[in-house]
Symmetry: C2
Subunit: 367 residues, 2 copies
């Protein structure tokens, strides 16, 4: 791995000092911020998420706030998912699309009030996007990036940790629902969410000066449960079929291609950005879809920068996007963005820098 | 420095293998790509730019292409600089602003044809932005990111190197002008430009499979001139007063605050994004301006992630943005974004993580 040079273009998170103290070994960049990607014991960190509880600096999940009389209208215009029944305290996974129906982000939308929404975004610039649409349509809404920085607590023991901190009421929170509260003077929204399928919570810290204080509170509360540091885990999320926008998508990917069709309501109003294109794509049928690729071989693949061609009978049928060694399947696995007429069960060859790797395609998730 | 974890969200450049072969030691990320930031001999690399010639992988300067009947109209709508006299083969430095007049990027705009423009962008997502504006206004223009990856040749001997490769005609190119050509089957646009004040060229490679071939051609041509690898140089660019968008600007910075007023023409048409706000800001006077801070002390400062408060008489008057040890001035220097009523010659104190550093403010550039 290479070193990353500091720059004022790249912001550390409010938990930066804590992650350094925990011995963070590597970072990625995401929304112009640094995000920890490992603490030096990758397999131990993986099993902690599967069997225990792990705490993650995910401040890079920036919030794009829509505030004002037209906040709800803008939220709907940006999201081709029917939000009419979304209530305060509820979150929804949405597929932001451009006018061509291309997926440009896949945030959790949180409704804080009738006139206040957050989009908890993946790694693309929705601040500019939402401002452009709001301004061009003359909407009465302020679009900003407020001082909000999530800390995730993930794994089967996460609920016990978060309940011991905030009280048993958190056990009743439904998936993607949240509640604003505070703890020792630290304002947070507690949500049942997180980028793993092991269950857990995200604590949306609302004061960037109190990151280390919140980190330490969670660490203390987690001590009886053997909590440790972790991060969004490439292995767990690929096993679980969770999408990484920008890593598993390209500049032509629409929601139907990446298993997000359930989050597109074709009967939303005509002024929703991209809905016309999405209706056409749905009618014609998307050109690609996303499957899993289970690879032969027992040599763990290295996470890399590149997509690889997926070939059948000498013809390229798609791309292998992110791929990883699966600790549970004990195979290399990855996401395959392939022609819609290629079905699970198909045997293919992956051209990995000239090396031909045999693989079979299957439906997602892997586990 | 920390390690950076590979991910398919972060793309390597077409020159990646060449920079690895040259011994690159660190990277930054920029427009979701990796950019080399050093080859292990920072002072030698600096003096090579000042006195000799240096070659840089700046593929991260992505091009946003506007193509179609309304390309010129969209270029003008996005740029509050009068483009009516811009001709084919000419480039111009422009200040892209949002509807509030905030600077969202500072690209070089290149006019390739009446219906074809490139914006050679800094580190923010102008692809989404330009598409949003084009679609919302119903313009007949395709906005894309084509396969174009600049390689910079910078320093006083750069002209000799580029002339030896392409011919003496390059010596006649005016600043920011360019010409499309090819060399050994590699399509490039040769421009007199680059993010240093030492003179030089950027070779806009138009075939991502030929990065290493172009790298090697330049390296061979540069051998008599003792060319070596380098990168956009934090020291040279701060000495020279060149802006780093996102590092030296924040979410409220307008062009007048960062010495870009000369690139704003207030009499462009009313449909130019942000022009109404820019006229108001100009009339009221911007609240801040950008000066240089010359710091006391002989201990070289480390490039970091943070801005620091600039204080006068106990009151915060602005921020120190990027800062660096100047090899030519033999002082620590940085950019000061301070209240408009603070003038060059003012003595201030910089609060650097609790350490009080005395500095004096002066007009930019430093050299």
């Amino acid at each position: 791995m290479h070193s990353i040079m500091p720059s004022a273009r790249l912001r550390p998170s409010p938990y930066y000092a804590s992650t350094i103290a925990e011995g963070v070994k590597s970072f990625t960049t995401y929304n112009h911020m640094l995000m920890p990607t490992g603490y030096g014991k990758p397999e131990e960190e993986y099993w902690r998420i599967i069997n225990g509880v792990s705490m993650w600096d995910v401040a890079v999940e920036r919030q794009i706030q829509l505030l004002g009389p037209d906040a709800g209208r803008l939220a709907q215009i940006l999201s081709p998912r029917d939000l009419t029944k979304c209530v305060e305290g509820q979150g929804k996974y949405v597929a932001l699309c451009n006018h061509a129906g291309t997926l440009i982000n896949d945030p959790i939308l949180l409704k804080l009030a009738d006139d206040k929404y957050w989009l908890s975004i993946a790694d693309s610039n929705i601040l500019f996007w939402a401002r452009a649409i709001a301004a061009e349509r003359g909407l009465d809404v302020a679009v900003s990036e407020p001082d909000v920085s999530p800390l995730a607590v993930q794994g089967p023991k996460a609920e016990d940790v978060v309940a011991s901190l905030f009280g048993d009421w958190v056990r009743a929170l439904k998936y993607f629902w949240f509640s604003e509260t505070d703890i020792e003077g630290i304002p947070v929204a507690v949500a049942r969410s997180g980028w793993s399928k092991q269950g857990g919570f995200e604590l949306y810290l609302m004061d960037g000066f109190k990151g280390d204080a919140l980190w330490n509170l969670v660490k203390e509360a987690g001590r009886p449960f053997d909590i440790g540091p972790g991060n969004p885990n490439a292995c767990e999320r690929i096993e679980s079929g969770l999408l990484s926008w920008g890593g598993d998508t390209d500049d032509e990917t629409n929601p139907f291609e990446v298993r997000m069709g359930a989050y597109v309501d074709l009967d939303v109003p005509d002024d929703v950005v991209g809905i016309g294109a999405l209706r056409r794509i749905k009618e014609e049928g998307p050109k690609r879809h996303q499957l899993g690729a289970l690879m032969e071989g027992q040599e763990p693949t290295q996470i890399g920068f590149y997509w690889y061609d997926i070939v059948k009978d000498g013809v390229k049928i798609g791309d292998l996007t992110n791929h990883v060694w699966s600790h549970r399947l004990e195979k290399n696995i990855g996401f395959a963005l392939v022609s819609a007429d290629v079905h699970p069960g198909t045997d293919v060859v992956i051209d990995k820098d000239g090396e031909a790797v045999r693989a079979s395609l299957r439906a997602l998730p892997f586990i």
